[in-house]
Every structure is written in C-alpha cells, then in structure tokens.
Symmetry: C2
Subunit: 240 residues, 2 copies
C-alpha cells in the first residue's frame, strides 16, 4: 500500500491493474456480481481476455482482490461512522455504526453481495481467507464499542456462560490483547450485535423484506434502538 512507484513500467502496470479492478467493479455495480467476466472486462478496455492474466493469475484471484478491496472500503466507512460520534458515547457510536452498515449495503448492494454472499459463479475462496484483515478491522470496531459499553451493559447479560474456548484461539488472543479486561461474554455480545445488524440488512438486500415492508429503514431503526437498549442505554429517539 502506498509503495513508491519506481519505474515507468511499474507505473503503467499499476494503472492497468487499477483499471481492471475499476472496470470489474463497474460491471458488477451495473449488472451484478455474475457480470464479472474477464472477457467482458477486457472487451471494455479494448483488450483481449488473455491479457488480464498478466495481472491476475486467474479470475478467482481477481475476485479475491476485489473482495479485499471492497471489504476494506466498508471497514473504513464503519470506522469513520464510529469516529463521527464522541468516543465516550458508545450508544451513539453503535447507532452510527449500524446506520452506516445498512446505508452502505443499500447504496452498494452488489458490493454487499460480493463480500457477504456467494461472490461470483464457481468462485472458491483461497485457503486462509480472502479479507481476513478487513474482516478483523470491522469486527474490532464493533468489539471496541461494545467494550466501551460493557460497564453499563454487563448487568443485562449475567446469565451468559461463555468461555474463551467458545472462540477461535487466534481471534481470542487478539481480542484479549486489545481489551485485557473484557470477559468472553462481551465478545459474544459483540458478535451477536453484528448478527443483529446483518440479519435485517441481508434480508433487505436480497429482496426478502420489500414484499412485506414498505419502509425497511424504519424497521431497521427500531431494531437498532432495541439493540442499543440491550447495551444498557436508555435514550430518546434522537436518530433520523
């Protein structure tokens, strides 16, 4: 990232790589993730399909890079949403995060499908995950907010019997490094919060809400209010 572009060749190479990715995203945004075809991209760029193999080993490879890029953009959006609220007001931060999550998904449905759905026909994700870094970023933001809210929230979750062994060791290690005093119940809560946001959003993006609901944003706002209550915060409707 941000490496010094040395030779002219390098510069051209990066420019073409960027153009390929941009063209792929353009096709995806206008015609769906299934429209990411090497031939179509090359055609659009005035090239032959084979030429792309100088830049990406395979189509799946290109898709993997796109997923990572898009996921990182989402993570950036979510971090910005968190930072748009005072750092000592986790309730406001969680609402901002939730709104940003849905707003982004609704504004970029194909990007959402790329990251959270079946990316593309026949695509097989590589071994060690594709966007582990971005996924960790997005997750860390949420955990951080929940950690800040935990003092006031924990009394609502006294029944939970989570242990660190419920989580992936590596993941648990990272969390405990960043938040040494956070109990496993809080980590579980943050993942459940994620699930709660994801549920309505993915139903909406995949068209399972529209047939019944005319105002999904309102439904989502209600859910976010309820969610913030479960983080121990009582607040009047200040959103919208």
């Amino acid at each position: 990232m941000g490496e010094v572009t040395q030779s002219r060749r390098m510069r051209l190479r990066e420019a073409t790589t960027a153009e390929i990715k941009a063209t792929a995203l353009k096709h995806m945004a206008s015609s769906g993730t299934a429209a990411i075809s090497l031939r179509a991209i090359a055609r659009d760029m005035g090239m032959t399909a084979g030429a792309i193999y100088s830049y990406f080993d395979t189509r799946d490879n290109l898709v993997s890079v796109l997923i990572a890029d898009v996921y990182n953009a989402l993570a950036g959006t979510l971090e910005a949403a968190r930072d748009s609220r005072p750092h000592d007001d986790p309730a406001a931060q969680i609402l901002a995060y939730g709104q940003a999550y849905r707003d982004w998904a609704v504004a970029n449905p194909e990007e959402f499908r790329l990251v959270y759905g079946d990316p593309v026909p026949d695509y097989q994700p590589p071994e060690g995950g594709v966007a582990a870094e971005a996924e960790h970023r997005a997750c860390a933001v949420l955990t951080g907010i929940v950690a800040a809210a935990w003092p006031k929230a924990q009394h609502l979750h006294i029944g939970s019997d989570h242990t660190w062994s419920d989580f992936d060791p590596g993941f648990a290690g990272l969390i405990r490094e960043s938040f040494p005093d956070l109990p496993p119940a809080a980590v579980a809560l943050s993942l459940r919060v994620w699930g709660r946001m994801h549920g309505l959003v993915s139903l909406e993006v995949y068209g399972h809400l529209r047939p019944q609901v005319s105002d999904p944003a309102k439904l989502y706002r209600a859910e976010m209010m309820d969610l913030s209550k479960s983080l121990g915060h009582v607040l009047v409707d200040e959103a919208h």
Copy 2:
C-alpha cells in the same frame, strides 16, 4: 398438488420432472448452487440437455421451481417445529422455531443459499416473486407466535411508532385478516425477530463466523435466549 395422474404419459412426465428436480438438488447439495447445469443434469440422467426443455422453459424456470420446493420444505419444517411445543407457550415455540431455522440452514447450507442468497449464476427471479406462498407461510408462523406472545411482550415495545402504512398493503391486509387485534408494532416485531434469527445464521452459512467462533450453536442459543426475553418471557436455560 396431488392431482389425479390420468394417462400413462402424464405419469411418465411427472416422474421425469421429479427426476430432473431431484438430480438438480443432488448436484446442488454436493457441488453448490452453481453446479445446477442443464447439461450436467441431463448427462447424469442419460439424456441430452435439450430434452429438459420439454419440461422447463428455461434454466431459470427450473431454478424458480426448485426455490419454491425448497422454501416450502423449510416452511413445513418451521411449522412442525412450532407444533412441537404447546400452543399456549409462545416462548417455547419461538425457541423451537429459531432452533429449527438454524438447524435446517446448517444441515442444508446449499438449500439455504438457494433460497436466501444469490440462487445461481445469472439467475433473474420472475416478476411476481418465486415462492411468495412459502415465504408467506414461514412469515405467518412467526407472526402467529409473536401474536400469542404479544400480551406479555407489548410493554417492552411501547416506544414504537409503527403504522400499517409501514407495510405492504397486501401483506398488511392478510395479517389483519388473520390477527384482527394485532397492532402494527407487533408485526414489526415479528419481522425483526426474523431478522435476528437470519443474521447469525446467514453469517455462519456464508463462513463469516467460523473464523472467529468455534461454537456458533452456543452463540446462537444465547441470542435466542435474549430474543425470547424481548418477547416478555423470563425463563431458565431449558434448551439444549
């Protein structure tokens, strides 16, 4: 459904239709939704790809029928789960429903993707929806349970300002027909409950939970307990 099979031709036709669908589902279960290819199905059946066009106008048509079948199977499972608990115990019913939802998804991940994700490369759902009936069945079950729980749950949702205009008119009409006294806030709640179940399940099915969580079932159970609390029910851990 259940029509009298008259001629021998009709019988053969229905048998072949069923075999096509079964083969498609078999391929899907073993190789993913993208593996639903007319050529592969025909090859497996000892036929030519073109022959399938005597039974289905197009591949998308076949996929639509599969979606409807699978969705109806899911709806049946959910109805059975509800009926496995006393009809005067909505808390138990909602837990059973939620468990059945996840169990089904985890046991049939490709079916889940077919119904709730991008079904298949390039697939475009037809105009009036594909499985409106099944979707309505599944939704009605949930609404029924929430309706039964509403007397004890409503005090937790006094702040909500939902109106019937927040919903699709046709959908609202059907609901008000079945549950004349149910306020719109309860309908919103039932859709939010759906979203809450769907969130963790779809994250898990699409592989976004495994990297962090070693025991998704436990996380989901915790979420279901919390959910049943928001339906106004206090209960000890009787599940599992």
